[in-house]
């Protein structure tokens, strides 16, 4: 006897089919295969008959009764009787009542937690534990107003890419800090019109880079003071791509968070940079016409409108920051471990997933517990 070429149909599937434990798809597949192959049909039929024959086996009569005698379990019996008789021996003991109540409550709690599917209970506990651990180790929300710090080791502006993208976000972040510090309603129309001369595709990359750098700014403000983006490149970047440069950091800097980096920058630059105050306005002024001139060059997202206006409204920070960038010659320290907004959201997603999993497992465990009306499947 040769089985047909329908290899996926094996005895395990046929056995499950006989017990009715197959999906609709599997059932259809088996039936189709059986209809097409007489050998397979014979296997299924003989397997079904085998199951029926085994099920029809007679029960084995008892040779004797297996009821326990006291001498077989004397020790356990004595212990249990003594334990159950203890309250009866001292009925006047008032202290036993609250103790008994506590024991009853404790026992009830033990029975509650030890009933049902213990695997589900333990899985729910593990999921909840992981949720607590993830919540404890997850970093805080990314600080959007922290000044972006160049994470690369090379000085700003040394590469064409850096000129095109690196300095722009950095300088823009610096300039955006004071701008964000003084949040004001933005003339959206002007800013919306003002579009960066740089290609539109540079904006997303710049946004991402500025976000990363901004999140690291809090830890590197001191280092930032000593580091030097090149003035010329910054100026040129300001001139060439003011809107994108200025807009990018503002995209990720919510209003109201600016003071911190601004403060840090001021503190870092305050000691030796008294003249820096004039520069931001200059830079901003330099940038403003460029912004306006580039307004019609390329479309700008709505998010860039506000930052442009805010930067224009806070002109006293850019020069200081620009000078610090120029003065810095050594590479900025690498960005700290704080996550960007995307990374932070991933942590939140993990926490949410663990929370849902823990709740689901707890729900399934509670459902698996036996109730007073019925307790699982029992047979006569």
């Amino acid at each position: 006897m040769n089985r047909s070429s329908y290899t996926p149909i094996d005895d395990e599937l046929l056995s499950a089919y006989i017990d009715g434990l197959v999906t609709d798809e599997e059932k259809a597949r088996v039936e189709a295969a059986v209809a097409a192959d007489p050998a397979l049909a014979w296997e299924l039929d003989t397997l079904r008959r085998t199951v029926e024959l085994v099920r029809d086996l007679p029960a084995i009569p008892l040779p004797r009764s297996f009821a326990l005698r006291e001498e077989q379990v004397a020790d356990v019996l004595a212990r249990r009787r003594a334990h159950s008789a203890a309250p009866a021996v001292r009925p006047t003991r008032q202290a036993s009542q609250p103790t008994g109540a506590r024991d009853g409550l404790w026992q009830a709690m033990l029975n509650f937690f030890n009933s049902g599917n213990l695997v589900l209970r333990n899985a729910a506990a593990v999921a909840a534990l992981f949720l607590v651990i993830v919540a404890a180790v997850a970093p805080s929300a990314p600080l959007a107003t922290q000044t972006a710090v160049r994470p690369e080791t090379e000085p700003i502006g040394t590469t064409p890419e850096a000129q095109a993208l690196g300095e722009e976000p950095t300088v823009a972040a610096l300039e955006a800090a004071p701008a964000a510090a003084a949040p004001q309603p933005a003339p959206v129309t002007e800013a919306a019109v003002a579009s960066p001369p740089a290609p539109a595709e540079e904006a997303p990359a710049a946004v991402e880079r500025s976000a990363v750098m901004r999140s690291a700014a809090a830890d590197s403000t001191a280092a930032f003071a000593a580091k030097a983006p090149v003035t010329g490149e910054v100026e040129s970047s300001i001139d060439t791509g003011p809107v994108s440069m200025l807009a990018v950091p503002a995209v990720v800097s919510p209003v109201g968070e600016a003071p911190a980096p601004l403060t840090g920058l001021d503190a870092a630059s305050g000691a030796g940079e008294p003249e820096g105050a004039a520069e931001p306005s200059t830079a901003v002024e330099t940038g403003a016409p460029s912004v306006e001139s580039a307004a019609t060059a390329a479309p700008v997202s709505d998010e860039s409108a506000t930052p442009v206006a805010e930067i224009a409204s806070a002109p006293d920070v850019a020069p200081v920051q620009k000078e610090e960038i120029v003065a810095a010659e050594t590479p900025v320290a690498p960005a700290p471990q704080a996550l960007s907004a995307s990374g932070w959201s991933i942590w939140r997603l993990i926490q949410a997933a663990l929370g849902v999993l823990a709740l689901l497992l707890a729900f399934l465990w509670l459902r698996s517990r036996p109730s007073a009306s019925a307790s699982g499947r029992t047979r006569a």
């Binding site: 006897m1 003989t46 007679p58 029960a59 008892l62 004797r64």
Partner: protein
């Protein structure tokens, strides 16, 4: 004793139908509540309450033990030991299916006995005959003597086939097909995963079928291969 009586003794033909009966039967619900009371009384030192539970499950326990050990005395000893163990460990029962909990003790005790037997090598499982004293009691007045003899031989052949299985497959097919346990209950009793239970049951059935095909002269025509 009629064979048909044993059909009402908890050996359903369909696992599904038994599940539906259990879910809707108020008597079973009441029995479960009574069982919880018996367990509670047993924990307080009432041995009679535990013996009520024994009376309820001893037939099932002995049937499983006998088919695992294929020996009357060994099965009796295993069942008695199992009940003593169950009484001693009653505090560890945390609710749920008491029958599954008890049957797990029975199967584990039988496994221990099989290991001891293998070490001693005093008997061969394949050589143990089916004791006719039990078989002759199962008389159905509707059968002719010839039919009775044929059925006896067929049952003996099936018992031999089951005895030839490995321990794990034998346990699975006895619990599933002989006693009607569901896959999840068998998984709980044997302490393995559901997939393992399904695999063991399918392999056991396949091997029993193969054993029967080899002795097809005692079987209905449907068991004879097409090639013959």
């Amino acid at each position: 004793m009629r064979v048909c009586q044993f059909r009402h003794f908890g050996f359903p033909h369909s696992i599904r139908s038994m599940a539906e009966i259990v879910k809707s039967d108020p008597e079973i619900i009441q029995a479960t509540m009574d069982q919880d009371q018996l367990i509670e009384r047993s924990l307080r030192g009432d041995l009679d309450a535990f013996n009520h539970l024994i009376l309820k499950y001893q037939n099932l326990a002995y049937s499983v033990a006998y088919r695992l050990l294929s020996d009357t005395e060994a099965a009796a000893d295993a069942v008695q030991d199992s009940f003593i163990k169950a009484y001693r460990a009653l505090e560890s029962f945390r609710g749920g299916n008491f029958k599954s909990w008890l049957m797990r003790i029975v199967t584990n005790t039988c496994y221990d006995a099989l290991r001891v037997r293998k070490r001693r090598r005093t008997d061969s499982l394949d050589d143990l005959p089916v004791e006719e004293e039990f078989v002759t009691q199962l008389i159905d007045s509707r059968e002719s003597p010839d039919q009775f003899v044929e059925r006896q031989e067929l049952n003996g052949l099936i018992e031999d086939a089951i005895c030839s299985l490995p321990e794990d497959q034998r346990t699975a097919i006895v619990l599933c097909d002989v006693h009607g346990y569901a896959y999840d209950e068998i998984a709980e009793i044997t302490g393995v995963a559901m997939g393992t239970v399904k695999s063991r049951i399918s392999r056991a059935r396949g091997r029993v079928r193969g054993y029967l095909v080899q002795h097809s002269e005692l079987l209905p025509a449907a068991f004879r291969p097409n090639s013959e």
